[in-house]
């Protein structure tokens, strides 16, 4: 008999980027989270990456704030070195048995000084650097690890294996080493479980043809990534493993262990390898101070995500060579290089020599993960990925257990992050009644009153490993800082952002009674919030903080001139100290949050967002400009997993109609918008005014109308959606037809629209399979540029080929020619393999017309959110905040962000709801801080500030007749302060005095 107990806690297994996002969204929405990680530290695969595509953001720089946020979150309990043994119970009330393995270091005592590592005599392959170098048996996983605590490798430690040595225990100043630690089993009570076990990179050692096992200059892409990394074995210097020489040429071999059923048993596409290979190629060329030759050997380039196609084009412009061929033999050369044998696109044999080869290996599910799926009763597909459906993309086959990240299929970071938020929403959908029952309240100490105290500035100068200290003489800057006015304390630190250092900063602030803090490190754009939180934790008003960006603006760009770089760092630190000394504590105000949402767009994305919000008990208004719900999904026949869309849509609409929390306004658009996060007021074209705390934009996109291939002139030429409608209607002419041709990339991947529409290749092969199954005699041709059936969708491509669908590749320069002669349609295409022109006479020519954005400029302006150059709504961060806008309280879902298939639309919709819930669960939120204020004694009521304020945040107080600022609406731009002729307004945090002091210190 099932109990009705609902537990307000969730277990998240896996501390990679997906697990971290799920944990943070849950913890910020009122649920207690147990984060279980089997290794010593969280961070996962992303912590190993040097850069991320397509923005080339430094991977560690962007996850580091997340690592710290998870590590310090009061409602996330981190259980490292922990395995899950058993899951009992049912949704709402699970008992999860876990085993906490010994670290042999007492975490409460370890101060991460590293003395143990220095003395440890055992050298072991360093898995963080993919075994390219060695670590010790007592070690820390990586420099920025959270938690930053050492641990002992029990398999390698001499004391634990043979009972002799013990040197780490002898040298540890904190007495943290404990060889007697034992594993312990505990049971955790949770309402739901999220599994994010991630992947392991495919190991090509069994591939004799690639000589990976016996040639050190044949590396995997992850090894090469570590080679590029500043914290890697050669500190970012690209050299061959065999002789440490700089290679003159590098070959990338795509699809190693992917799209291969002959040797690897992995029929799927790993989705990310084309992009990471392009990234590594670009970065390698940038690192090399000479003309490094890079060639990528590929089958299809799959740059299908947002901004990916331009990244690919950019790589070509940078001189990276792309050759369409699968390498069949790698022959070792005397000089340590390789000779590649391959067959060209035109069927000729060719060879080419390279100094190094990089194998773009795929993502695979480990045996351990497969065992886990089996043990917990979770269905998997033939490749061992966990099974889901298009309409519930994060729900596993056992109710109450959810998944995110690569566990359900190969995917990139933003897709994993979207799924993570979606999993947070889905996992908590049945737990809303227990929200807030197990969470603890953050105890920020009341800020110390520093009024009347002279400034006591603390200066922390970061080495950032070697990123800063490799160029700048940090000790010299520290000594200089000590001489500056009001500086009470100055010191250097290896990683200012690491958790132990944050804790030390708190201690020092209290101990030395510091009342202004300056950190000379990286960019305030990424790290200011982190340090401000540290100030708050130390009981200091968080605005008493200033940063000097001596990494991005100094050591990284003046590496050739260390003396000047050091001098600049001193100046920058002086400027920061000068400004800091004049900072005053700023107050924040509390405003009420309207606990409801406005969802703009009533398609699959909008409706799923509204339903997910309703699960959490929040009301929403869905506004749809058409007279009916469902959007483009109304025209789609079935998904890639053969689910019938019409049936799903009917259920979805019925659920929405029956939901008390959702009201739908049809035939309406947004007319006028006022307010801000927590307190939006939107007037619709129907005249209805809606008050809402958050806004979700889900306005979708459109299928373009092709202007070529006789579209619109010949009834046999139709678009994908038009053809789907015929299939849906069981069109007799289609059923009777014998020949079909599809043309891909119609209007996509062209100079004026340089992006891939992402869904068309899969939809074409899916439709082709449907046609072949209905009529095996039918002749089906697909004319394509690169087939982009990513992830498990590759199986459909293979099925289509097996069923006899003919695929013919064409180049952008020689597009198919379509002409009509009476009733007959002629499609002429040049086949590069046979070198001949092929004539097809299809009964239907189906065009994969590009998906185009709605270019919603007006809507974007009303809510003050950006669009990118293609008209897609532009997210706050392409990697880590794919559903948020930079503007607080604004979120997006579905194809208004970028084209994507049904499962990804549903995931993003659930994700948008999860992100929105983190705002809506707070009954009140704080605003203010860096906002303008008016010195009314100076105000002459001229109204200039009122006129210039871009946010209508300033008005004239009718009683006093003076200007007054609405702090909730002020965004802190400072236009008023620089426009007033009497200097009446000033911008807190950026006052005239502070800026003058900075200018003086600069000179």
């Amino acid at each position: 008999m099932a109990s009705n107990k609902v537990v307000g806690a969730v277990l998240v297994a896996g501390g990679g980027v997906a697990g971290m996002q799920a944990a943070l969204d849950l913890a910020n929405a009122g649920y207690y989270v147990y984060m279980v990680e089997k290794s010593m530290a969280i961070g996962g695969r992303m912590s190993q990456l040097d850069k991320t595509f397509p923005t080339n953001d430094c991977s560690m720089c962007i996850i580091s704030p997340k690592l710290v946020e998870v590590g310090r979150h009061i409602n996330i309990e981190l259980l490292t070195l922990t395995d899950i043994l058993d899951i009992q119970g049912q949704e709402g009330d699970f008992q999860v048995k876990v085993r906490r393995n010994p670290r042999y270091i007492d975490m409460s005592k370890c101060i991460a000084c590293g003395e143990c590592t220095k003395k440890c005599p055992v050298k072991v392959d360093n898995d963080y650097n993919e075994s390219l170098d060695k670590r010790k048996a007592v070690y820390v996983q990586y420099a920025q690890a959270v938690p930053l605590k050492f641990g002992i490798d029990a398999q390698k430690c001499l004391m634990l294996t043979k009972g002799k040595c013990g040197s780490c225990q002898k040298v540890c100043p904190a007495k943290a080493v404990d060889y007697e630690q034992k594993a312990e089993e505990i049971t955790l009570g949770v309402g739901a479980v999220i599994l994010a076990p991630g992947f392991t990179p495919y190991k090509p050692k069994d591939f004799e043809t690639y000589r990976y096992a016996d040639n050190p200059n044949v590396m995997t892409a992850l090894e090469f990534e570590r080679l590029l990394g500043a914290t890697g074995p050669s500190m970012g210097h690209v050299v061959r493993s065999s002789d440490h020489k700089e290679p003159e040429s590098i070959a990338f071999l795509q699809c190693v262990g992917s799209r291969d059923v002959n040797r690897a048993d992995n029929g799927y596409c790993s989705s990310v390898c084309c992009m990471y290979a392009i990234k590594e190629a670009i970065i390698a060329k940038e690192h090399a101070k000479y003309d490094l030759k890079v060639t990528v050997f590929y089958m299809d380039i799959r740059s299908f995500g947002k901004d990916f196609e331009r990244y690919y084009e950019k790589a070509k412009e940078k001189g990276i060579n792309f050759v369409r061929s699968r390498i069949h033999t790698v022959q070792p050369k005397q000089d340590g290089g390789v000779r590649l044998h391959y067959v060209t696109d035109h069927g000729q044999s060719a060879t080419q020599d390279f100094d190094m080869a990089v194998l773009s290996h795929g993502l695979v599910i480990t045996g351990e993960t497969l065992d886990m799926s089996y043990k917990f009763g979770l269905k998997t597909d033939q490749y061992h990925f966990a099974q889901t459906t298009s309409f519930a993309p994060v729900a596993l086959s056992r109710p109450g257990i959810y998944a995110c990240g690569v566990y359900t299929g190969p995917k990139d970071i933003p897709s994993s992050v979207m799924e993570a938020s979606a999993a947070a929403a889905a996992a908590s959908s049945k737990l809303a009644s227990a929200r807030g029952t197990l969470t603890k309240v953050v105890n920020v100490p009341a800020p110390v009153d520093i009024s009347g105290e002279p400034p006591r500035v603390g200066v922390f100068i970061c080495h950032c490993g070697i990123n800063i200290a490799g160029v700048i003489d940090v000790p010299k800057v520290v000594e200089f800082a000590k001489t500056l006015p009001f500086v009470e304390y100055a010191s250097n630190t290896m990683f200012a952002c690491s958790q132990d250092n944050q804790e030390q900063m708190v201690r020092l602030i209290k101990e030395k009674r510091l009342n202004r803090i300056v950190v000379s490190a990286c960019s305030p754009r990424t790290h200011e919030p982190l340090f401000m939180e540290t100030l708050a934790a130390a009981g200091l008003n968080k605005y008493l903080f200033e940063m000097a960006n001596i990494r991005n603006h100094d050591s990284w760009v003046h590496a050739a001139d260390p003396a000047e770089a050091t001098r600049k760092a001193m100046d920058m630190t002086e400027m920061a100290v000068a400004k800091a000394a004049l900072l005053v504590p700023l107050t924040e105000n509390v405003i009420d949050v309207a606990p409801s949402a406005l969802v703009i767009g009533g398609g699959v994305a909008g409706l799923n967002t509204a339903l997910t919000l309703s699960d959490q008990g929040f009301k929403s208004v869905v506004v749809e400009k058409d007279a009916h719900l469902g959007g483009i999904a109304n025209r789609i026949h079935s998904t890639a997993k053969n689910e019938v869309v019409a049936d799903y849509l009917e259920q979805l609409k019925a659920k929405v109609e029956a939901d008390q929390n959702i009201s739908v306004v049809l035939g309406a658009e947004v007319e006028k918008v006022e307010g801000f996060v927590g307190n939006f007021e939107t007037t619709l074209t129907t005249g209805e005014a809606v008050k809402h705390g958050v806004t979700i934009i889900a306005t979708g996109a459109k299928e373009s109308k092709p202007t070529e291939y006789l579209y619109g002139q010949n009834p046999k030429v139709v678009t994908h959606l038009e053809f789907d409608e015929k299939i849906k209607a069981k069109d007799e002419a289609v059923a009777a037809a014998g020949t079909f041709a599809f043309i891909q990339c119609v209007g996509s991947r062209e100079p004026e629209r340089m992006y891939c529409s992402k869904v068309c290749c899969t939809h074409t092969v899916h439709t082709a399979v449907h046609l072949k199954k209905n009529n095996p005699e039918a002749r089906v041709f697909v004319l394509y540029r690169d087939m982009r059936t990513y992830a498990q969708k590759e199986d459909i491509y293979k099925e289509a080929r097996d069923l006899g669908v003919i695929f013919i590749r064409y180049e952008l320069e020689s597009k198919p020619k379509v002409t009509a002669a009476g009733e007959v349609l002629n499609v002429l295409v040049h086949d590069p393999v046979s070198g001949r022109d092929i004539l097809i006479n299809p009964d239907y020519l189906v065009l994969a017309a590009a998906i185009v954005s709605g270019r919603e400029h007006e809507l974007a302006m009303k809510y003050k959110v950006p669009l990118d150059g293609d008209g897609w709504f532009f997210e706050a961060h392409q990697k880590l905040r794919p559903v948020d806008f930079a503007t607080d309280g604004m979120f997006m879902a579905g194809i208004c962000h970028y084209p994507k298939p049904m499962d990804e639309v549903v995931a993003q919709a659930q994700a948008a709801a999860a992100r929105a819930v983190t705002v809506l669960t707070q009954p009140r939120m704080t605003v203010g801080g860096i906002v303008a204020e008016i010195n009314q004694a100076k105000c002459s009521s001229c109204g200039v500030c009122v006129a210039v304020c871009p946010f209508s945040a300033i008005g004239i107080d009718p009683e006093k007749g003076k200007a007054v600022v609405n702090e909730a609406m002020c965004k802190g731009c400072g236009v008023c302060a620089s426009s007033c002729r009497s200097d009446a307004p000033s911008l807190r945090g950026f006052t005239n005095a502070g800026l003058f002091a900075q200018i003086a210190a600069a000179l």
Binding site: S523, N549, N552, K864, P950, G974, A1000, A1002
Partner: protein
């Protein structure tokens, strides 16, 4: 003889040009180390007095850079900045300031390469103007700063 190394004060908005400078760092795009950056939320915050103050205290050049027209994080702050800047530039030129000393640009947070190019260009332009003697506060010329 080593060439003249000018001192330049730069005012960047947080959202665009400061971001471009961050990205230039990430991409390791090197440029001359002659300027010091004052970070502002928006170029709209730039009071013309700051530019005058920089010259008065001995800056050889000033560089103001913000978001492209239409990209301002605060909707229109960069337009206000442009108006103020153009007016000030005309005034300073009228009283004898070499136009190359005062520079203005639009650089988005994604334009690291443009940032590098403009940075080099600004330094060269200011270098060509030579040391700022005419706009420096008089006391400095009298050598009083060394006495103090």
């Amino acid at each position: 003889m080593s060439q003249f190394e000018p001192k330049i004060v730069a005012f960047f908005c947080n959202w665009c040009t400061y971001g471009a400078a961050d990205l230039a760092g990430v991409s390791r795009l090197d440029y001359p180390p002659n300027f010091r950056v004052v970070r502002l939320p928006c170029t709209g915050r730039l009071n013309p007095k700051y530019i005058l103050e920089a010259f008065k205290l001995g800056a050889d050049g000033v560089w103001v850079s913000g978001c492209h027209p239409g990209d301002c994080h605060y909707i229109s702050g960069n337009y206000y900045a442009r108006r103020k800047f153009v007016l000030l530039h005309h005034m300073l030129e009228a009283i004898g300031l070499e136009p190359g000393r005062l520079n203005f640009s639009w650089i988005s947070s994604a334009e690291a390469t443009k940032f590098q190019e403009v940075a080099k260009d600004v330094v060269e332009k200011v270098r060509a103007c030579g040391p700022n003697i005419n706009f420096r506060k008089a006391e400095l010329e009298l050598g009083l700063s060394e006495v103090a």
